[in-house]
Symmetry: none
Amino acid sequence: MSREKNKRDQILYSASEVFAQKGYHDANVLEIANQAAIGKGTIYEYFDSKMTLYLEVIKFNIERYLTRIRNQVLSKTTFDERLHAFIICHTEILSENFKYAGLMMNNSADVVFNSKNSHETLKILADTRHEIVQIILDILTIGHEEGKFSSDHLDYYADLFFEMLNRSALRSLVMQLSKEKQQQEQKLLIHMLINGIRH
Amino acid sequence: MSREKNKRDQILYSASEVFAQKGYHDANVLEIANQAAIGKGTIYEYFDSKMTLYLEVIKFNIERYLTRIRNQVLSKTTFDERLHAFIICHTEILSENFKYAGLMMNNSADVVFNSKNSHETLKILADTRHEIVQIILDILTIGHEEGKFSSDHLDYYADLFFEMLNRSALRSLVMQLSKEKQQQEQKLLIHMLINGIRH
Amino acid sequence: MSREKNKRDQILYSASEVFAQKGYHDANVLEIANQAAIGKGTIYEYFDSKMTLYLEVIKFNIERYLTRIRNQVLSKTTFDERLHAFIICHTEILSENFKYAGLMMNNSADVVFNSKNSHETLKILADTRHEIVQIILDILTIGHEEGKFSSDHLDYYADLFFEMLNRSALRSLVMQLSKEKQQQEQKLLIHMLINGIRH
Amino acid sequence: MSREKNKRDQILYSASEVFAQKGYHDANVLEIANQAAIGKGTIYEYFDSKMTLYLEVIKFNIERYLTRIRNQVLSKTTFDERLHAFIICHTEILSENFKYAGLMMNNSADVVFNSKNSHETLKILADTRHEIVQIILDILTIGHEEGKFSSDHLDYYADLFFEMLNRSALRSLVMQLSKEKQQQEQKLLIHMLINGIRH
DNA sequence: GATGAATGAGCCTTCATTCAT
DNA sequence: GATGAATGAAGGCTCATTCAT
């Protein structure tokens, strides 16, 4: 890994931290530079603008998220195992990086909406969400193949399930639920999904 | 209704529009004033600061939302009717006020987080969400009373269902689904809820 | 005294209070109106502008000061008595109206300097100072007539003595000197004046 | 001298000019920046706020004043020489920097009084005045050591003399007195001081 | 005459971005 | 490549003043 790549990542890490803690507008470039222990001007050697950096940060974190999720999910084979792995892993990542969660899970549409290249950037955000939903869809498809439910509307269920899981994980964190209570709610979530889909 | 109340509402309407379109930070007070066809200073006669206005806008829209939802929901008696009414009404409001949706449904936590009085304001936001979830919980309780499902974990389901409905309605709008397709998905949603809860 | 005159004075009293406490720029018209228990607009029925009001306030207070000083001083006849009366009375007024002191004694030149009619207003301020110095000069002239010192440079001494007395009185207040210590310093002041003048 | 120090001083010089001409409130930051031929934002690289700048300007000018006064006064040894040097130098500085005079000699208490850190800043202003008075007191002490007068109340006399000298110098400037007349009044001042103190 | 709602000019301050070193 | 001093556009907010009632 080249020195350049290192410094770029260094910025991305620091920016993740700061954006996560302060949000796009209240984060400022100087703080990110300080966090990365580099000069303010250096950021502009690697990123065109604050907005570009922000989008790269989101992509960066989603990439990290996706890599980890895929590692966990694809190491399993059955529907039950994969779903379980997904829920566990997703919740884990969220609790580990409570601060970063918003960067990945919230659609930052409001932030991006008014930037010059809003069209392009909104597409990126939509695409990344789509990619996560796709993983869920893959899991559901296995469920269908296992005869657990029909293949109807699986994309709809996948989309909704992502939202449910997010909310459920966030709830656990905000309410500081015990490990047991957390596991109980995870079971409810799975139950809700499977029975909700089945006809 | 006094002249004062009128102008205050006038500002709230205009601010809703601008905040919804641009988000908190990219909206500026002058634009809100122009939209309301009043002077910039007038806004500060009715609201202490931009942030105060923003929070009042959220409360204002949630109030409108809650009033309308309650009118529709409470005019029904059975679980099925009330749930249906809630879904229809919620979806309707969202589609009518696509722009404003974010002001009510997103938790604006990131915007508020760094403001001085963040503690108090975050509480307001949490409270309003809670109020909506409470309406759903009331509906679910009727379902329980009708023997449709047990009373276990209803608050958890209510919380999640709100997220699901939001996402579902948003999907319809973004994907510009036909009326039929929309109704179909609503049925799926209800199905998912009822079967998901039932043990 | 007409109702109008009353309201005008009412404003002048309130404005004195507020200007004295906050200074010209940090005082605001609303506060003065509130203090006078009248509407903000009413002030502009009696005074053209905030600056005009400020100048009238200064004149108003100097008038009150001069009237009182003259009453005291002119009731005496000898140099010693008059000088003593002047010192006592001046110190008394300052201690009673510590807050207002600045309005009379400081030259508000810096405040006025940039107003549109600065030339005219600066003249007013200079004139009022001159009027006070004139009273001192009259006292000194009696001292000369009593053979206490020559008539040379009496205007110079009068001018300086006003500054000395002001500082001396201010010192007493700031340092919160005891009555005895105060009287001692007054004696020193008189001593300094008489011996300073005498050749 | 570093580039930074240069620019900071550059700002201090320009700010002295503008503050002296317009007073604190009527001076505005843009004008100071223009005067210094720099961007408005640059001022905030060197000073936290307009108020901070103002206080630094006062300190800056008093420092210049004190340095110069001390150089002149300490190069002399006898009471007469030192006193004369002080008067000459003080008057000189005032006439050279007529505009800046107010920044050093007036207590800017009214400007500062309502600022947030008023307590701290008022102390600074009081301290600087004290420092000047101390120089006078040192001179008077030499006079006492030379047997010219007793050591009683010298601090009181020093305090008052500062006020007298200021007024005297200001008078000269305002009245545009001739060099001769000026020197004559200086003699009167010294005479007044020495005879005023002597018992 | 009295009022205070409405106004907008004006100002301090921030901060993303540039560019000379 | 790295830096950070310099910049100025932009924006929230204040408040003296006006004027319709």
